[in-house]
């Protein structure tokens, strides 16, 4: 997926001059969401940036696990791909790909799974397979499932991080690649999914969290300078908004410095 980046300070939603970009705030916020987690199954791109940032700031003991087979990687720069040699060189252990999926992920040992998505619906279900482009055109092809269905099924909880747009946040998925909360409360248990599923969808505009009663995503937090209307506008379904919507703490200087140092080795894209 080649997302358009939202990476210039000047492009901040309210036009105010800030020394951080919405993308940076999204990543910083995603890193903060790892607070209290011990182990994280990391997808490449935004999740990798956030997980590495967490390890560089508040969570030095966070164990990063990549589907390429590394347990406890400690890269000094952001890897472009999950196959970067540094992930293996700095790991506590390197295991085979079948082992990482069977003994480590499936076994429910990982606290947090970190996922991106092409399309997400109100129950945080994910499509990364195909896009319906209308009756006269062939389906648009996305990369496919990768590790996502089993990451979302087996991790203790799931964080999602993706940019906010009506193209990404849709009324109805064209294809369910990965189940978040299915069609609502109780669905995960009925399907036999182990973990609690998505607990936050962190975007460049704010944060959505599932309502504990209905499992539907609710806007609970907006980023500084963003309005609730901007978020509902960028969402393809009638987005529910929490009674009291918080405002994200801006990145601290320490967070920004750590993130930029990590990225100086090369900007990872989705």
């Amino acid at each position: 997926m080649s997302d358009t980046t939202n990476a210039t300070p000047a492009a901040a939603p309210d036009g105010a001059a800030r020394d951080w970009t919405p993308d940076e705030l999204m990543t910083v916020n995603a890193a903060r969401a790892l607070h209290g987690s011990r182990t994280c199954f990391v997808g490449i791109g935004l999740p990798s940036a956030a997980a590495n940032l967490a390890r560089r700031t508040s969570q030095p003991d966070l164990v990063l696990i990549y589907e390429s087979g590394t347990l406890g990687s400690k890269p000094t720069r952001l890897p472009l791909s999950i196959g970067d040699g540094e992930l293996a060189d700095t790991a506590d252990a390197v295991v085979s790909v079948p082992e990482i999926f069977n003994y480590w992920l499936q076994a429910g040992r990982i606290d947090v799974g970190f996922l991106g998505a092409a399309q997400v619906d109100r129950y945080a279900n994910i499509n990364t397979t195909v896009i319906d482009r209308g009756p006269d055109r062939p389906e648009g092809r996305l990369p496919g499932a990768g590790g996502a269905p089993e990451i979302a099924a087996s991790c203790g909880k799931v964080l999602m991080v993706l940019r906010h747009s009506r193209r990404n946040f849709v009324e109805r998925l064209d294809f369910v690649t990965t189940v978040g909360h299915g069609s609502g409360p109780g669905d995960r248990a009925r399907l036999g999914l182990l973990g609690q599923g998505p607990v936050a969808v962190i975007t460049d505009l704010g944060v959505l969290r599932p309502d504990p009663e209905t499992a539907e995503l609710v806007l609970t937090e907006i980023h500084p300078g963003v309005t609730v209307e901007q978020v509902t506008e960028a969402t393809g379904w009638k987005l529910r908004v929490a009674g009291s919507v918080g405002v994200t703490e801006p990145p601290t200087q320490a967070e920004l410095a750590a993130l930029r140092a990590l990225k100086s080795g090369g900007e990872p894209r989705a």
């Binding site: 997926m1 648009g140 690649t177």
Partner: protein, 269 residues
């Protein structure tokens, strides 16, 4: 026992039109040179198997070598789409491409079943996903002890598996290390195995996290230094991240792609 052969002879001898071919390497040790030789020899109608089709299969697909793809994630890692893969699937260019699509966990277990010579593997997977609706190689089994229903995936047993490794000894024993991916399983699942290596040595010094494939599990070894480029072989070469980024514009356009392949693959050797 593995014969040490030239890449050209090994590909000609082991890979035939219509074969099911797995070329593995999870971002590391991807056998690009062997794929280029397949393209040069015009071998076609292949069923290509690979967890992460990647630029290597974008090239094979774009050159019309494949009629079917078995996979779990088809992107240019860290960069974006595989344009030749998309063009084949969406527009049938240069020919239609059938898909059998899985998750990584499913594909990894298909290889495990293949290496174990079991007809299927069991996993906790695909629950609630639409993937099983489009694949005939995903089903379910019921645990005879607990009654729980679990996913079953059919074994993959390629006609040929092709991998790249750091080195082999003169007897054809193969050693690879670093991110070892699913190569052992892919090799042991196949009828025939071709390994390209960075180096042929007198003795394989033991290495941490190494996988050894004994000579008697390998059909042929070909000495192809830098045979994983733009992927890499830990300890020998580094990943050419710039190439992966450059591939995006090269592969976007059919003519640019064909011109590149002509210059860098067909007319090279």
């Amino acid at each position: 026992m593995a014969e040490i052969r030239s890449l050209r002879d090994a590909v000609a001898g082991l890979i035939h039109d219509g074969d099911t071919v797995a070329m593995e390497g999870f971002t590391h040790l991807i056998p690009f040179a062997a794929a280029h030789e397949i393209i040069r020899q015009g071998i076609t109608d292949l069923t290509l198997v690979r967890m992460t089709p990647d630029v290597i299969y974008d090239q094979l697909i774009g050159m019309g070598a494949a009629r079917r793809l078995v996979f779990s994630w088809g992107g240019n890692p860290g960069v974006g789409s595989l344009h030749r893969f998309r063009d084949a699937v969406e527009n049938g260019w240069p020919r239609p491409l059938e898909l059998d699509e899985h998750s990584h966990a499913g594909m990894a277990n298909r290889y495990v079943a293949g290496a174990s010579r079991l007809p299927f593997a069991v996993l906790r997977g695909y629950r609630g996903s639409d993937l099983p609706k489009r694949s005939s190689t995903i089903s379910t089994v019921t645990c005879p002890f607990t009654g729980e229903e679990l996913a079953a995936v059919a074994a993959v047993n390629p006609d040929v598996t092709v991998i790249h490794a750091q080195r082999a000894d003169r007897a054809g024993n193969v050693q690879l290390w670093g991110l070892v991916g699913v190569q052992k399983e892919a090799a042991l699942a196949a009828d025939r195995v071709l390994v390209t290596v960075e180096e042929i040595v007198d003795e394989l010094e033991p290495m941490p996290d190494a996988v050894v494939l004994p000579s008697w599990t390998v059909s042929a070894v070909a000495h192809v230094p830098n045979g994983a480029h733009p992927s890499y072989a830990a300890g020998y070469t580094v990943r050419d991240n710039e190439f992966y980024q450059a591939w995006d514009p090269i592969s976007r356009d059919r003519e640019t792609f064909l011109a590149w392949m002509r210059e860098h693959v067909l007319e090279a050797s």
